[in-house]
């Protein structure tokens, strides 16, 4: 088992005026993830290093960091892939405020996600003794979009979110689509105003990097562009409403 150099960008708000880099030498075996390395540092070398994690299996979405400039889940990133590079540079996720060391503050992202009401909205009464049934085809329409773990890697990847944090961003717009496409949902009229806005789907210029970095193959870029079609149709329908003297929806 060899070793590898890990350079972590540190920032402790109560002590540091600006971020700085600290170099650690960590063991590197075939099966060691970057998260293992960070935990090794925390346990054996430097308990003051802060990083976030929980599940260690790409489910909780809390361990996102920039690895050699790319947004990645540290638990799904293996040191063996960086042997050739010789050094692993780790910093908190781009485009987000840094809370401490490798911990990014994702509360803004969470607010965007909450805004689009990512849950099933029903107006008609729910069936009492049966489940809301759905055919496999109906499920297939939104299934990929429902795999999101809210890790915010796509926000670290998105140049539009980097320039305008009011942009709802990939995961929020994907979740809006996920519920709008669900046959059991009746709440799309509540979500469409978010999609229709400048800060909604229309801030996306289809860079597509979000889909490249997504660890769950959610393909947010495709969700947003399907959202553009939905918003486009909504615009046309609304225009007809206005022409017929009805109020703006």
């Amino acid at each position: 088992m060899g070793t590898i150099e890990l350079v972590a960008t540190r920032y402790r708000p109560e002590q540091d005026v600006q971020p700085w880099e600290q170099r650690y030498t960590v063991p590197c075996s075939e099966d060691m993830s970057l998260l293992d390395a960070l935990n090794y540092i925390k346990d054996e070398l430097d308990p003051s290093l802060s990083h976030r994690w929980s599940c260690r299996m790409a489910i909780c979405g809390s361990c996102g960091v920039m690895v050699n400039g790319e947004p990645k889940l540290s638990c799904k990133t293996f040191l063996r892939d960086y042997r050739e590079a010789g050094v692993v540079q780790v910093r908190a996720l781009d485009n987000l405020p840094v809370e401490r060391d490798l911990v990014a503050d994702i509360s803004g992202v969470v607010e965007h996600i909450e805004a689009v009401k990512p849950w099933l909205i029903r107006h008609s009464t729910a069936p009492v003794d049966t489940a809301h049934t759905q055919t496999p085809e109906q499920m297939a329409r939104y299934h990929a979009f429902s795999q999101c773990i809210n890790c915010a890697l796509c926000y670290a990847a998105c140049p539009q979110f980097g320039r305008n944090p009011a942009f709802l961003g990939p995961a929020a717009l994907t979740l809006a689509q996920r519920y709008n496409l669900d046959s059991r949902d009746e709440g799309s009229s509540e979500r469409m105003p978010w999609l229709n806005a400048e800060e909604g789907v229309w801030s996306c210029t289809f860079v597509g990097y979000c889909s490249e970095v997504c660890p769950k193959d959610v393909d947010p870029a495709s969700a947003i562009n399907r959202g553009k079609v939905a918003s486009d149709i909504n615009y046309g329908v609304n225009l007809f409403r206005l022409l017929r003297g009805k109020s703006d929806a």
């Binding site: 140049p159 229709n196 806005a197 400048e198 909604g200 486009d232 615009y235």
Partner: protein, 114 residues
């Protein structure tokens, strides 16, 4: 949340892109083929203009020219934003979309005066 009016330019952009992708290459190849078949440039011109006598054919020709113009204008407009080249929206929007509109109008004038 204020509704964005981007759907207008995006629809034109999308229509232009679809048109280019689906019939653009075929159109170029068939025009070349026609030029090759009808060797004489004057005869070629006569063939094409007789094809453009029908108003529907003129409309189709206008669509094939105008929609890709809007497509290009839209891509350039947003491309500038991505390259961090910014300016007042009325100026950039006016230049690109206004340019596409002016060229389309010119083309319509010319097509329908044939």
């Amino acid at each position: 949340m204020r509704r964005s009016h981007e759907p207008i330019s995006w629809s034109l952009f999308g229509a232009g892109g679809m048109l280019l992708a689906f019939i653009g290459p075929g159109l170029i190849v068939s025009t070349l083929l026609l030029a090759w078949l009808v060797q004489d440039p004057q005869a070629l011109h006569a063939t094409l203009s007789s094809g453009l006598q029908h108003p529907l054919a003129r409309l189709a020709a206008l669509a094939v020219i105008a929609l890709p113009l809007y497509h290009t204008a839209h891509r350039l407009y947003h491309g500038l934003h991505d390259l961090h080249i910014t300016g007042p929206t009325w100026l950039l929007g006016g230049f690109f979309y206004g340019g596409a509109t002016a060229l389309s109008a010119l083309c319509a004038l010319w097509l329908f005066s044939l």
